[in-house]
Amino acid sequence: MFLKDYISDVYNGVASLLKGMRKTGYYFTHSKEIITEQYPDNRATLKLADRFKGEVVMPHDDNNEHTCTGCTACELACPNGTIKIITKFDITPEGKKKKAIDAFIYRLEMCTLCNLCITACPSDAIKMVPNFEHSVFDRSKLTKILNKPGSKIKEGIE
């Protein structure tokens, strides 16, 4: 009986090992199963999900106009002080003072890409874009001013 157990032990053990080797052997001989993505080479065809949260940007239209009113809702919503809005007062043609943004400072190095600022924004002035190549040589380059120079608020946005 002992010998029978012994032999069946050896047999089952070897059989289980061969089963595993058959699986790995299958993958060795089937090169179409390879799943490697050749990242820098496939940049042209690389398609990220459109919702991918990579970076906060402020869309500007052709007239260099944005929709940010400077209400600082995003600044308040941000959990880690990524956004800082500096406001100024523009003089409208009617001679009235109007609040506008001077600089929308966005610190990418502090951002956790949690999307809370986007949901907080009442005028859809900022949005997330699927851009993930953020490497720069100097950390200070990650502090960005999102409103373009000379841009102004779109008409009719309060």
């Binding site: 053990g13 090992l17 919503a77 959990p79």
Partner: protein, 378 residues
């Protein structure tokens, strides 16, 4: 923790009775992160294990005291980063409980599906890492191939692959991706085909079985006394699935089995996780065609304020029971918040169950406890 002179003493001299003291970690291939174990050895046999924590302590509990009820959810993704969705759900559920926010059915069902997908992804990663701890490199890549499909689904819908922050108090941050259902179905199909590969490569393998069977045996009494939860406790025959005990979201309307085994060794813990993946697939299959139409987020006030009092919410993460305990003074931020993380209790049992085994067994035990260090340290 040791001061400098003690560290030098530890690494150059033998302990009393000629014991060998090894500092395993904080940089060690098998501790998966920055866990530091001071292992006392007698030859190859382990006499004592003493965990030293704190290498990735970020004081999340203190941080959360400064964050509002909308903001603190994102931090919890960084605790147990492999089940970040479930952590987020726990916090959202707690805020909803505290404020009596009505969550739309659609949000509930989507949350459940995402939670189960997260659980599968976490277990997939665990299988790969565990096999790697035991010296088999290849299953890691096969497991990651399936996990990649889940992260792609997450990326489509939530916009992130690991720390999603998709759950907000009241529902979801935005609606699911139009291709969500087809992608999940494609994943289920592939998963069912490929799950047999783990059987061939890992489960049935005679070396793997001999490495894990009878290793790190945890009895039911010890599991209860040490506060173990999740697959670790269920492998010892302790029923502790929060999805069954206190159903949340859509778990009360789906059929699934709580996987309970009784042997309590490393191999059983492995089996429980593999079977749990199949149960997760079962849950997803029941829900994926029945996502109700409608709103994805309930009506909430702009500023969330919890009533004065104490709130506790338990959910089942991939590692066990996550408890969120909030003491509210009625303000916009929690007065005190405590995360009862499953890994913390599961780690405390490590010394008990690996005493007397070998270094090689420690890898199997530690692997099957499925420790995530940021979850332990918080």
């Amino acid at each position: 923790m040791y001061n400098e002179t003690e560290i030098i003493k530890d690494t150059t001299e033998l302990g009393p009775d000629g014991e060998l003291v090894i500092n395993m970690g904080p940089q060690h291939p098998a501790t998966h992160g920055v866990l530091h174990l001071v292992v006392t050895l007698n030859g190859e046999t382990i006499k004592k294990i003493e965990p030293h924590l704190g290498y990735i302590h970020r004081s999340i509990e203190k941080m959360c005291e400064r964050l509002t009820y909308r903001q603190f959810i994102y931090v919890t993704s960084r605790m147990d980063y492999l089940s970040s969705h479930i952590n987020n759900t726990a916090c959202a559920l707690l805020v909803e409980k505290g404020m009596q926010i009505e969550v739309p059915e659609r949000a509930k069902v989507v949350r459940t599906i995402l939670n189960e997908l997260t659980r599968i992804a976490s277990h997939e990663l665990w299988i790969g890492a565990m096999a790697m701890d035991l010296g088999a490199f290849t299953p890691f890549f096969y497991a990651f191939r399936e996990r990649e499909m889940i992260t792609d689904i997450m990326e489509d819908t939530c916009g992130a692959r690991l720390t999603m922050n998709y759950i907000v108090p009241g529902g979801l941050m935005y609606d699911i991706h139009p291709a969500f259902q087809t992608n999940v179905k494609a994943f289920i199909k592939q998963f069912k085909e490929k799950v047999t590969e783990y059987e061939d490569l890992v489960t049935g393998n005679v070396i793997f079985q001999s490495r894990t069977k009878g290793v790190g045996v945890l009895t039911a009494e010890d599991a209860i006394s040490y506060g173990c939860t999740g697959p670790v406790a269920r492998a010892s025959g302790v029923s502790c699935d929060m999805r069954k005990i206190a159903p949340y979201d859509a778990y009360d309307r789906v059929e699934f089995d709580e996987v309970i085994e009784t042997d309590g060794d490393s191999f059983t813990r492995y089996l429980v996780r593999v079977k749990e993946m199949n149960q997760s697939i079962r849950i997803i299959e029941q829900l994926i065609d029945n996502i109700p139409e409608g709103e994805f987020v309930g009506k909430t006030k702009n500023v969330l304020k919890l009533a004065k009092g104490e709130f506790y919410q338990r959910v089942e993460t991939a590692r066990g029971e996550l408890g969120v305990y909030i003491v509210s003074e009625g303000g916009t931020t929690p007065y005190r918040i405590k995360f009862r993380s499953p890994g913390f209790s599961n780690l405390s049992v490590l010394n008990h169950i690996s005493k007397g085994s070998m270094i090689g067994d420690l890898m199997a035990t530690m692997g099957t406890l499925d420790l995530v260090i940021p979850d332990i340290d918080r």
